[in-house]
Each structure stands twice: as C-alpha cells, then as structure tokens.
C-alpha cells in the first residue's frame, strides 16, 4: 500500500483537515492508502523520503526530499480541489 504523508506548518490544524478530506475522497473512490500526518517543522528529509507521496499545505523548499510533493491547500479552500484530488489519485494508483 502507498504511504501518503499529509503535512502543514505545525501538524495540527491544516494537515488534519486535509487528511480528513483526502480520506473521505479515497474511501469514496475505493482506493486504499496508508495515510499519516505530520509537521513540516519536525520532519527530517529521511522521514519524507520513506513515503511514496507528500501532500503539503505549502510549497516545499527542501532539495533533500525526493518524494513527489503535491500542494494540497485546495483541500481547505475548495478552489481547484477536484484537480488536486485527481492528481493525488493518479499518484497513488501509479
């Protein structure tokens, strides 16, 4: 199963909302994934690189991170949400 990490500034509010929205979508699509959330402040590059996909509330400026990153703040505002969910789905199923 693909390991998906949802991250935001402190791993409290935004990542929780994004994770819940993503979980609802994946359940609805019958896609299983290993979902987790974390704080950008505390994650090491190694921790990120152990994942298959990162969904982040913000652009990630971390050259050491090799895992693909999708910016997922659309899951908060709803603007462009369908495109983001589609991208995440493709990444998980690829």
């Amino acid at each position: 199963m693909k390991k998906v990490l949802v991250v935001c500034g402190n791993g409290i509010a935004s990542s929780s909302i994004m994770l819940a929205a993503l979980k609802d979508y994946l359940d609805e699509q019958n896609i299983s994934a290993d979902l987790d959330k974390a704080s950008l402040m505390t994650c090491t590059d190694d921790f990120f690189n152990d994942k298959d996909l990162i969904v982040s509330s913000t652009k990630l400026d971390r050259p050491g991170v090799k895992t693909p990153v999708i910016v997922g703040s659309a899951l908060l505002t709803g603007i462009g949400e369908d495109e983001v969910l589609e991208k995440i789905k493709e990444a998980i199923l690829s």
């Binding site: 935001c8 500034g9 409290i12 929780s16 703040s73 908060l76 709803g78």
Partner: protein, 153 residues
C-alpha cells in the same frame, strides 16, 4: 465539548500589519482566559514561517493563524473583521501574499477534538452566503451564526 466563539471588529486604523491583527485577535482569547499569553507570539512566529492566508472565491482573503496547542487553555475561535484588509502570507506559497479582511485566530487544544469544527469552518469558507454574512452582518448575528455552525459536539 464546546468551542467558544469570540467576535470583534477592528475599525481603528492602527491595525496595519498581520502581526498587529494577530495581537488584536489573540488579546480577545487572552481576555477570555482561553490561552496563555505566549500563544499570541507563538501564532505570530508561526505565521512568519508558515503563513495561514487563504484565497477564497471572488478575491476574498481569510487568515487562520494558530500556534502551539500547549499554550491553549480552552478551544475556540477569535474572529476579527478588519475595516482595512491586511496582507497575510499565502499558505500554499509563502512568497506570495493575500489581502485578508477576515481573521479567524484558532485556539486548538488537540486536533482530533476540533477536527469537526475546523472542517465545518472550511465548508463555510466555500459558502457565498457565509462570506456575505461576515462582510455585512452585525457582530451579534455573526457570533450566533458561528456558534450555531461550529459549536457542536
């Protein structure tokens, strides 16, 4: 478990930066004994590094500053309507800014407990009626509206 909702308006012109806006919102949380005083600086520090401005439909900007839960005593929200919109950093790209008229200073103890409230708040952000209410309604009405929508178990 309930979430306390505070509502205020900043009509003075002295709010000229996001730092001052967060202080204004946070001070209301402090006066209501919902946070320890350090929470306000924690929110400002976090905002610098990981901004919380969100661009909604129709060029409406909202910010949802929040900080370390260890400085929170009681969960809730301090909503502030700014007479003059203030630039906040954009969450998805901190090199960009978004002009925000509405600030929701979140006091969150533990994410799981407040998840329902936060998700409902995000759902409201997509609702044109809600944004219209925030812009035009009396503060009492906004508070009742937010309590009704967000303070459920």
């Amino acid at each position: 478990m309930t979430n306390r909702i505070l509502v205020s308006e900043a009509d003075e012109n002295h709010i000229n930066s996001y730092q001052v806006a967060i202080k204004f919102a946070g001070n209301n949380l402090f006066k209501s004994n919902m946070i320890y005083p350090q929470y306000i600086d924690a929110c400002i520090e976090r905002e610098k590094k990981y901004p919380t401005g969100l661009a909604l439909k129709n060029n409406i900007g909202v910010a949802i500053p929040h900080g370390n839960p260890k400085f929170v005593k009681e969960s809730g929200i301090s909503f502030v309507r700014l007479a003059q919109p203030i630039n906040f950093g954009l969450m998805e790209d901190s090199t960009k800014q978004v002009s925000c008229q509405f600030v929701f200073n979140l006091a969150i103890l533990q994410s799981n407990q407040q998840l329902a409230m936060l998700r409902q708040l995000m759902a409201l952000f997509r609702n044109d009626d809600f944004i219209g209410t925030l812009a035009k309604a009396e503060l009492d009405h906004i508070q009742k509206y937010l309590i009704q929508k967000l303070s459920f178990n």
